[in-house]
């Protein structure tokens, strides 16, 4: 009986504490604590992520079999990072000076073979001057936008997430529409008026939605390619299904676009 009572007391105490923390957590009261935990756990997450993703990536499988020692894996990560950086800075359409490299440390809603990532977590946060709304790219392709920031990490809402929506243009026909994420790696270009032409395999790029501080999406970032078009003469708009040109699941490094 005594034990049963102590369970309820413990439960009530922790519940009350959780409610207090929940409301106080919306202020920056616990930022020091979260900063310390982030600093300890995020590097561990990054190591786990890099080891596992590198082992699933076919490009590295043969090398991984030869190099089982941790030091060699670490060397390969550096080579990989350098290649990503070289790739990124050779892309001419973006100004290299405004790109901040970041390592992916987690994909919370990702289940290999079952669910596509809806968000990714990267190892750059407030301390690195990352802001909500900053675009995250790989080469000249848009991956998503920062939606949450902590001291040492940020969450990136991918373009395929159901909460993601922004204006876009097609590259060849210049048709304007709204990109809407459908989840599970899918997205559509919706709200395109019937008078505008949509072409299969046409590239869709961002139209640009920056504010006066130049925060937000710049124009000209590649979102994806049109794979199918749904056009019904009786409806007001037509829409197109898009496919992402970058496989987020295989990325280690991404770049935050800063102005």
């Amino acid at each position: 009986m005594q034990r049963k009572e102590s369970v309820w007391i413990a439960l009530a105490f922790c519940f009350l504490l959780s409610i207090i923390i929940f409301f106080l957590g919306k202020t920056s009261l616990f930022s020091v604590l979260t900063g310390i935990v982030d600093a300890v756990l995020f590097p561990t997450e990054a190591i786990i992520y890099n080891i596992v993703i590198a082992s699933t990536n076919t490009r590295y499988t043969s090398l991984m079999n030869d190099n089982l020692q941790l030091q060699i894996i670490k060397d390969k990560e550096i080579v990989n990072e350098n290649a990503a950086l070289r790739d990124q800075f050779q892309t001419t359409s973006l100004q290299s000076t405004v790109l901040m490299p970041a390592t992916i440390i987690g994909m919370p809603s990702f289940l290999p073979g079952v669910a596509f990532p809806e968000k990714i977590i990267i190892d750059k946060g407030i301390f690195d001057a990352v802001h909500i709304g900053d675009p995250v790219v790989y080469r000249n392709a848009l991956l998503g936008q920062i939606d949450k920031v902590s001291e040492h990490a940020s969450s990136v809402l991918l373009t395929t997430n159901t909460s993601s929506s922004f204006t876009a243009d097609t590259l060849h026909t210049n048709a304007m529409g709204v990109i809407k994420g459908l989840g599970n790696g899918q997205m559509i270009l919706d709200n395109v008026v019937l008078s505008e032409a949509l072409q299969k395999n046409d590239t869709v790029v961002t139209r640009g939605s920056q504010n006066t501080n130049r925060q937000g999406l710049p124009p000209g970032l590649v979102i994806g390619k049109i794979v199918s078009i749904e056009r019904n003469p009786s409806s007001l708009f037509q829409k197109a299904e898009l496919v992402n040109i970058v496989d987020v699941q295989k990325l280690h490094e991404v770049f935050i676009l800063k102005e």
Binding site: L11, C14, F15, L41, M107, P112, S150
Partner: protein, 139 residues
């Protein structure tokens, strides 16, 4: 000592959950440990690990703790009247808790995630039961 190892195990599960796969592994293990051991220290562990999960997933602090405590509260409430260390209870309770968790905090692929998570709960339940019997026999 056991609590310390359990904490380490839960932190490892949390790292896997936040980094690699989207199954609520921490919730599953908390349910299993609560069903098998039915001790009050599980509540404090649930509270701490919930806070840690929120920090790692960049969520509002306290929301996972609240959910874990709510789930354990229902479990302990049920354990006052009925036997909980049974396969049917673990099946139905984990199904209820995991589906609520997926509906509240996760998006997409609900059914495959639910099935996989229920299966992993079962694996954890049998493993935890085996461990508890093993330790009881030893002591």
């Amino acid at each position: 000592m056991f609590i310390f190892f359990l904490l380490i195990f839960l932190v490892c599960l949390l790292l896997v959950q936040t980094t690699l796969i989207a199954l609520p592994l921490v919730l599953e293990s908390l349910i299993v440990v609560a069903v098998v051991f039915q001790k009050e220290w599980i509540i404090f562990i649930a509270f701490c690990i919930g806070l840690l999960q929120d920090m790692m997933l960049l969520q509002n602090l306290g929301q996972s703790s609240l959910f874990f405590l709510f789930t354990l509260g229902i479990l302990f409430l049920y354990s006052r009247k009925f036997e909980v260390n049974t396969i049917p209870f673990v099946f139905f309770f984990s199904l209820f808790a995991i589906s609520t968790d997926l509906l509240l905090f996760s998006r997409g692929s609900f059914l495959p995630k639910l099935l996989l998570a229920t299966f992993t709960t079962f694996v954890m339940f049998f493993f935890c039961n085996f461990l508890s019997h093993f330790f009881l026999k030893k002591t």
